[in-house]
């Protein structure tokens, strides 16, 4: 019997050792004060990356890691304890809040910027504006050709964000009013992927955060209003939403320092530079 137990214990320990060695990361070992991880929304990513770079320039001993993945991924990482800050372009859902609280995580949100969801097409598309109703009909699959909304007699290629995206959730809420995205839409994992695809697809339509607008894509007016920091700030542009950073409890330590930096005039200038709307 003892031999069998020893054999099984040996196999188990070998497997463990083979994957991670014997130097485990003890959770109560003091976390390095000069490291920080941010995970989540690709909309928040440009702000987080620029802010991290600037902060690290000023504090060379600090190491900040910024990851994308989407709002859902960031929030799940916060609940799992694998990130210090969850970046999100939507508020947390009841299910996520319950899951967090039951695991002893107390999510506290900080609004770091405001953003507009820009509707983008290929620069060769002659269309200048679109109504909310037509936009909804395109994404629900009820309109399939540009000529039905005043464009060329060509098919529409619909590009969307995937379900882990906060931008997708906000778009669904504000435009589709809970409806289903058409089955043939391309579901992409990041704002960048959407912008790149539209820049290469003459018949394409997609949506991105303001930070991803560039000369390679053409933003459409929605209900007669162009997407811009000014129209988002004034409330004229209706496809607008706040951008969040979630921490476990009130921000403290390096997380607090970074968030304070983003909310400072210097940090809010970064927000403005990447195309979003400052909140301070």
């Amino acid at each position: 019997m003892l031999r069998r137990i020893s054999m099984i214990a040996l196999v188990a320990l070998t497997l463990i050792g083979a994957t991670e060695g014997i130097a485990w990361d003890w959770p109560w070992a003091k976390k390095k004060a000069n490291t920080l991880t941010l995970t989540g929304s690709t909309t928040v990513l440009p702000v987080a990356q620029r802010a991290a770079e600037e902060y690290m320039k000023a504090h060379p001993k600090v190491n900040i890691t910024v990851r994308g993945g989407g709002s859902g991924v960031g929030i799940a990482a916060l609940i799992d304890g694998t990130t210090d800050i969850a970046n999100a372009s939507r508020p947390m859902k009841s299910k996520e809040l319950k899951s967090a609280r039951s695991k002893g995580i107390n999510p506290v949100e900080t609004v770091i910027a405001r953003d507009g969801i820009a509707i983008i097409v290929h620069p060769s598309n002659p269309l200048e504006k679109i109504s909310l109703q037509d936009l909804k009909a395109i994404y629900l699959g009820e309109i399939n050709r540009w000529s039905d909304v005043g464009g060329k007699p060509e098919p529409i290629v619909t590009v969307s964000r995937d379900v882990a995206s906060g931008t997708f959730e906000t778009f669904k809420k504000l435009v589709l009013k809970g409806g289903k995205t058409r089955g043939d839409a391309l579901m992409l994992a990041s704002n960048k992927a959407v912008a790149t695809t539209i820049a290469q697809t003459p018949g394409g339509i997609g949506y991105v955060g303001l930070g991803y607008l560039s000369p390679q894509v053409k933003p459409l007016q929605v209900e007669g209003v162009s997407p811009s920091p000014q129209t988002v700030s004034s409330g004229e542009y209706i496809l607008a939403r706040p951008l969040f950073m979630y921490t476990n409890g009130k921000p403290k330590g390096l997380a607090k320092e970074l968030i304070d930096f983003i909310l400072s005039p210097e940090g809010q200038k970064i927000v403005s530079d990447v195309g979003y709307v400052p909140v301070k």
Binding site: M92, S94, L97, S102, K180
Partner: protein, 368 residues
């Protein structure tokens, strides 16, 4: 065999045809391969009563979300059956024409051919009428005590399950949802009461009623309470009335889960009073390694002396990899389990279990 082929065929058809429709489809598979060694004392010395490998769980799960408000799930469990024994002894009593009674003992082959199949879940969750909630119809979780939240981080089942208080799934209707701001969950359920393995003539005319509340006053502290009531019906459940109080505390690497159970079952006028509790602490030593202990006490009849038993569990779980949202991917579980009756002269039964558990999910097909 035909049944099995039909189930397999149905699964293949569902998995190939359904993704073509609107909505989001995902497939999952769980496999739990377990080694069990059981030692009991015989003639003053411990002897091996069981030493075997078996596939204890082989879930095939199909999840399809038609819309944000209509979510469905079907689970089929393929698992080793007949405990791997090649034959068993069956004793039957017969009566001759002259009224003489005989006992016939014979060796028979097992009915199961090494594996079996069962339906575990088949429900639709409708997100209508209840804000932040749903109405769930079909074969679903049984929302009592800790059983519906049990993730098998000890290889042993939850206290309700192992002591046969209730089954982990049942046919019925439930409605529930989230308390505001993540303060917890609530649910009411009306179910057959006999559990997911029973249908047809096994099911009595009286449904079981369940109410469950999980309240999280502060992050990390969950106060759980459930009540189960089933009126008089046919055997084996003539009366069932159970109460569960299950507080849980989680802070950093430490998780302590407690469950108190108090119940009355059996004859309507003279029910048997039962009670038990579980204390289950876990400490996470690293993101991938957790050590755990568990102590169960069970008293099947409060009015009788020394009929209870105690269960002790110690072990560890090591995650070779996790999948999305921290759920198990590949995990090694090792548990020692001891069980001892309260009666004088009872000897401890030892069980050593090692399990390799691998669970995967396909990408999500389609869109909402």
């Amino acid at each position: 065999m035909r049944k099995r082929l039909f189930s397999l065929g149905l699964t293949v058809v569902i998995s190939t045809v359904v993704p073509a429709f609107a909505g989001v489809t995902q497939f999952e598979a769980y496999n739990w391969m377990r080694y069990t060694m059981k030692l009991e004392k015989e003639n003053g010395a411990y002897a091996t009563q069981e030493s075997q490998w078996a596939l204890k769980r082989g879930y095939l799960r199909w999840k399809h979300k038609f819309t944000e408000r209509i979510d469905t799930r079907v689970n089929i469990d393929l698992f080793s059956s007949a405990n791997g024994r090649l034959d068993r002894v069956e004793t039957t009593g017969i009566t001759d024409v002259d009224s003489t009674e005989h006992t016939v003992v014979k060796k028979v082959k097992p009915k199961k051919n090494g594996a079996d199949i069962k339906l575990k879940y088949a429900y639709v969750k409708l997100g209508y009428l209840i804000p932040q909630g749903d109405i769930t119809v079909g074969l679903q979780k049984f929302y009592f005590g800790t059983i519906y939240e049990w993730k098998y981080m000890t290889i042993e089942k939850s206290l309700e399950d192992v002591e046969k208080v209730c089954a982990s799934a049942d046919y019925g209707v439930s409605l529930g949802g989230y308390l505001p701001k993540g303060y917890g969950t609530w649910r009411f359920q009306v179910a057959n009461g006999e559990g997911y393995k029973h249908t047809g003539g096994d099911v009595n005319t009286e449904p079981a009623y369940v109410a469950d509340l999980r309240f999280i006053p502060i992050p990390g502290l969950t106060l759980g309470g459930s009540a189960l009531h089933e009126n008089v019906g046919t055997k084996p459940f003539e009366k069932r009335q159970w109460l569960s109080i299950s507080p849980r505390f989680t802070s950093g690497p430490i998780d302590v889960w407690v469950n108190f159970l108090l119940g009355e079952t059996g004859d309507k006028d003279e029910p048997t009073k039962k009670q038990g509790y579980m204390i289950y602490p876990t400490v996470k030593l690293s993101p991938n390694l957790e050590v755990l202990g568990r102590y169960d006490h069970w008293d099947p009849d409060i009015d009788r002396e020394d009929d209870g038993h105690n269960r002790y569990i110690a072990g560890f779980n090591y995650h070779l990899c996790k999948r999305e949202k921290g759920r198990p991917g590949v995990m090694i579980q090792v548990n020692w389990q001891g069980e001892k009756g309260e009666a004088e002269g009872s000897e401890m039964e030892h069980k050593f279990m090692a399990q390799l558990r691998w669970e995967w999910a396909s990408p999500k097909f389609g869109s909402l």
